[in-house]
Amino acid sequence: MKIIVCVDKKNGMLFNSRRQSQDSLLRERILELSKSSKLWMNNYSAKQFDSSPEIQVSDTFIQQAGVGEFCFIENSEIPTESIEEIILYKWNRTYPADVFFDFDLKKNGFKKISSNDFAGSSHEKITEEIYIKK
């Protein structure tokens, strides 16, 4: 599976069980990225998306996602196995956080293959970093 995670400058993901930020252009980008495959997410994440054929909603989506399929993870534990690719979206701002993305990319053998900046709808700069398993 290919996991998609949004983080702030300090690798934060959530505060008080709520996402730190969101961006409508980022959502469009995620849909574009996964349009030829399936995009898995849970009910919490699905609330911020309009319905789309590639979106698969399940609260056990990480167990259900297959090879080559995308998982948008906001408030679930990052799996330690079966990850082929990690797509990190960095907000480039700091938000309050009590849940962090603490997945050790190096230790788990991931290598950055690209880094691109783009403007979001309410964020001047969002950085997309893609990591693949060596």
């Binding site: 730190q20 701002r93 309410s122």
Partner: protein, 411 residues
Amino acid sequence: MKKILNLVQWLIGILFAFSAFASGFHFSSIFILLAALLMMPIKPIREALKKVKIKSGVAVLLSVVILFTGIACTPTNDTPSDENNSAYTEDYGEEDPEQTTENHFDNKETISTTNTTTTSTTTSAPHSPVGSGSANPVKPSETPAYTGRPYVALNNNVPNFSSAELTTKAYEKYSPLDSLGRCGVAIASCGKEIMPGTNEERGSISSIKPSGWNQAKYDGVSGGYLWNRCHLIGWQLSAENANRQNLITGTRYMNVSGMLPFENMVADYIKETGNHVAYRVTPIFKGNNLVCSGVQIEAYSVEDNGDGICFNVYCFNIQPNITINYADGSSSSSSGTTVKKETTTKRVTTTKKTTTESYDSYDDDQSNYVYITKTGKKYHSIPNCGNTKTAYKVSLAEAKRKTEGPCSKCW
């Protein structure tokens, strides 16, 4: 005369009988009906009474006594709702602060350890005092202890807004300064209506000297200056510039690491959803201190009942490695850091331009500032990009006006 008396007794008796069933039949209706029968001059009843030596006058008197007994036994219309009210109040009091927040906390704990089924439920609005409570600021004597993080959750992150404060009509309200010149509570319903416009630039706030403003410069402090003019309700939420009722003396640490992340979270949410967020900031002063010990920030998104934004936190007005005298804002290094102290004396006025720019540039979001050189065509995220020594700090908006765009090396 006797006929008139009989007629009156008939009328009163009928009235009694009617009232016995007017509000439905219950135990007291029997008393009132008995009173009616005694009141009315019904021959068989009066003759029966005569046999037991009860005269007509006594019967009427007895009727009145029984009537009052019946009325006394009648439950009033208010009684049931009074009971309901008290029961409601009791339940409300028991449920809210304790049970609800405890559940909320439990859910939060679960989230970090995974269970996705549970996590999806944690995002629902808390069944809490939110919307029916009132301000419950931290008592100055009970401020939390600093444990190495710039903020700490209060009341398990459940704020205390009244229903009137949870409004979709944008507003902002600031307290008048007290006799010591200190700010009080600032509250707003933040929405796009009161946030700065797309091209709106920040105004200068250097003319304001909040209570306890006693500036000092330390090498160990990011940006150099200890004190920032901290907006209670941040500029990005309120577009308020030099409003002295909205500016306090706060450390760089509290401003940037404590308050700003929360402002960012709320601002992003509003920009993306168009919703409103009830937002209250309370500076906590101990005694007659001119500098607050910290600020309490509460926020709650209105349209989605807290699904997007819900927090209640305390931000510490401290600066690591600096000892602060909160009575007057004076400070000293507590770790041997090189100190260049600059008090608000002659130097500030004689080098007004430089000092003013410095103070302003350290207020609020550092990410709104970049570096340019007089001749360069690009702006930079760091002051020494390309080993230049002539870069100076400007607002991002100014940099965009003066240059062609960001430098590809440092951005």
